[in-house]
């Protein structure tokens, strides 16, 4: 029993805390940062209408403690622009890896502010995913490489010290849990047993032109049943396949296919693209380091080839 417990403890520690090259988590930081930047920039230039008393936003003063209510008063348009600028700046600083942990905390505060000010009226799973990702970045120094911090501290953008895999594991586990939870409940949720699910869903506020076109074709209901079955199958398969090295690329392809198809029919899933963008967390850090080394080698080879070509024929 003692041996089993010891072995389990070792596996637990190895899974969450083993050290590896930090390139992977730095790449995820940059991808997430760029994605958050895109998300916040999508409000531009309508900041006063969305986040100030020049619009009609209803802040969440109904389920938050009274001491935060003064912070949730809609500001003047000028103040709203200043806050927007600060939030953009901290997302940029997070993406570039400048004081990464502090930037992640400030991003978290900024997004929480916007959520309580306005987004809470249309709460979505992707809002929570954004919060979760930013919290996950607090556990590892995601700015250890590919960052301004590394550049200033060590004079190299690529400088790298081994770091715990904790952040990438947290994100991987959460992505799997999200897919799995969504998939498993679809096996019993009453609406998901009915082929009219997609027939009606393609006629509502989330439907895109392709959905309207499709529903107007009046396909037989077995087509909707097939779509329903495919969605359930993909959502069950993706979180399992991503953990199996030999099947990982197929799972990634399935995930991209799934998100692409759903995004073409229903706009509700658009901001969920953070999930396939973060699939890199299912690789081991050494694999990503190998890929980056190969990429650097190819890049240097190409640059030197172009220089030699230029010197020989054009110089």
């Amino acid at each position: 029993m003692k041996i089993i417990m010891h072995s389990l403890w070792q596996q637990w520690k190895r899974f969450w805390m083993r050290e590896g090259p930090p390139y992977l988590v730095a790449t995820v930081r940059i991808v997430c940062g760029l994605y958050l930047l895109l998300y916040v920039l999508s409000s531009f230039p309508h900041i006063p209408l969305l986040y100030s008393h020049a619009g009609i936003a209803i802040p969440n003063i109904y389920s938050t403690p009274a001491f935060v209510h003064p912070l949730l008063q809609l500001p003047s348009p000028t103040v709203a622009w200043v806050i927007y600028g600060v939030i953009l700046a901290v997302i940029v600083s997070f993406t570039l890896g400048y004081r990464t942990r502090l930037s992640a905390i400030l991003c978290l505060l900024g997004l929480t502010y916007y959520y309580q000010l306005s987004f809470h009226n249309a709460p979505a799973t992707y809002h929570r995913l954004f919060f979760f990702l930013l919290v996950a970045f607090l556990f590892t120094d995601a700015g250890a490489t590919f960052s301004l911090d590394a550049w200033w501290r060590f004079g190299s953008w690529f400088h790298a010290m081994p770091a715990p895999v904790l952040t990438q594991r947290l994100i991987a586990v959460q992505l799997s849990a999200t897919y799995l939870g969504v998939a498993v409940q679809k096996l019993w949720l009453p609406d998901w047993q009915d082929p009219t699910m997609f027939f009606y869903s393609f006629q509502d506020m989330w439907s895109l032109p392709l959905a309207w076109w499709f529903v107007q074709l009046s396909p037989p209901f077995w087509v909707y049943s097939l779509m329903l079955f495919t969605v359930k199958l993909l959502e069950l398969w993706i979180p399992v396949g991503l953990w199996i090295p030999k099947l990982r690329l197929y799972a990634i392809a399935s995930g991209i296919f799934f998100h692409l198809i759903v995004s073409l029919f229903l706009s509700a899933i658009w901001w969920f693209w953070i999930m396939p963008l973060a699939y890199i967390v299912f690789f081991e850090p050494e694999e990503v380091e190998g890929f980056i080394d190969k990429f650097k080698e190819t890049l240097w080879y190409s640059v030197s080839f172009v220089c030699r070509f230029y010197n020989t024929f054009l110089g």
């Binding site: 969450w16 805390m17 999508s42 409000s43 309508h46 209408l49 969305l50 020049a54 619009g55 009609i56 209803i58 969440n60 109904y62 389920s63 306005s118 809470h120 009226n121 249309a122 709460p123 979505a124 799973t125 929570r128 995913l129 979760f132 556990f139 904790l166 947290l170 586990v173 959460q174 849990a177 999200t178 799995l180 939870g181 969504v182 498993v184 409940q185 019993w188 949720l189 009453p190 609406d191 998901w192 699910m197 009606y200 869903s201 006629q203 509502d204 506020m205 989330w206 439907s207 309207w212 529903v215 107007q216 009046s218 706009s267 509700a268 658009w270 969920f272």
Partner: protein
């Protein structure tokens, strides 16, 4: 200090794993597992809960202003720029506040009506009053608002300001 930090991280990890498993349990059985921290379970549940059901009808908020002896429809879309139709409609439904309670939901709609009245007045529209109603209508393959006509609409009056 370092040992304490390491122990702290493992405790946090254990809480996280319990939250994920409890979230899955709640997602499947709609019951809180014993001793599980409720806010974390709900956070995990909402991470696993998109697109659980669908509506048989379409719906949206109707805002009207009283001017020259009649009610005129106010176009709310310009107040929700950059938002797609679904997000706009969700914002107007104030769904999160609906979960808090009926009275809070009514108060929030009242505040919304007041905001619309003030913004419309600033724009020079001389409404003497603004009222909000919730409209539902049957779905149609011809378009989102295709059957949003008097004979199909079911209207629920919400609030009026002032």
């Amino acid at each position: 200090m370092e040992t304490l930090q390491r122990v702290g991280i493992h405790v946090l990890l254990a809480i996280y794993v319990v939250s994920v498993l409890s979230g899955l349990y709640f997602t499947l059985f709609r019951r809180f597992p014993p001793l599980a921290p409720k806010p974390l379970v709900l956070f995990e549940y909402f991470l696993m809960a998109p697109f659980q059901e669908y509506n048989r009808e379409n719906a949206d908020l109707l805002a009207e202003g009283w001017v020259d002896g009649s009610w005129v429809t106010i176009d709310l879309d310009p107040y929700y720029p950059t938002m797609i139709l679904g997000t706009r409609t969700m914002h107007r439904r104030l769904m999160t506040i609906e979960r808090v309670g009926e009275e809070e939901h009514r108060k929030a709609f009242h505040l919304l009506a007041e905001n619309i009245f003030l913004r419309e007045t600033e724009r020079g529209r001389g409404y003497r009053s603004v009222r909000l109603s919730w409209e539902t209508w049957p779905k149609s393959t011809a378009g989102f608002t295709h059957l949003r006509h008097r004979e199909f609409i079911e209207r629920t009056p919400l609030v009026m300001y002032p």
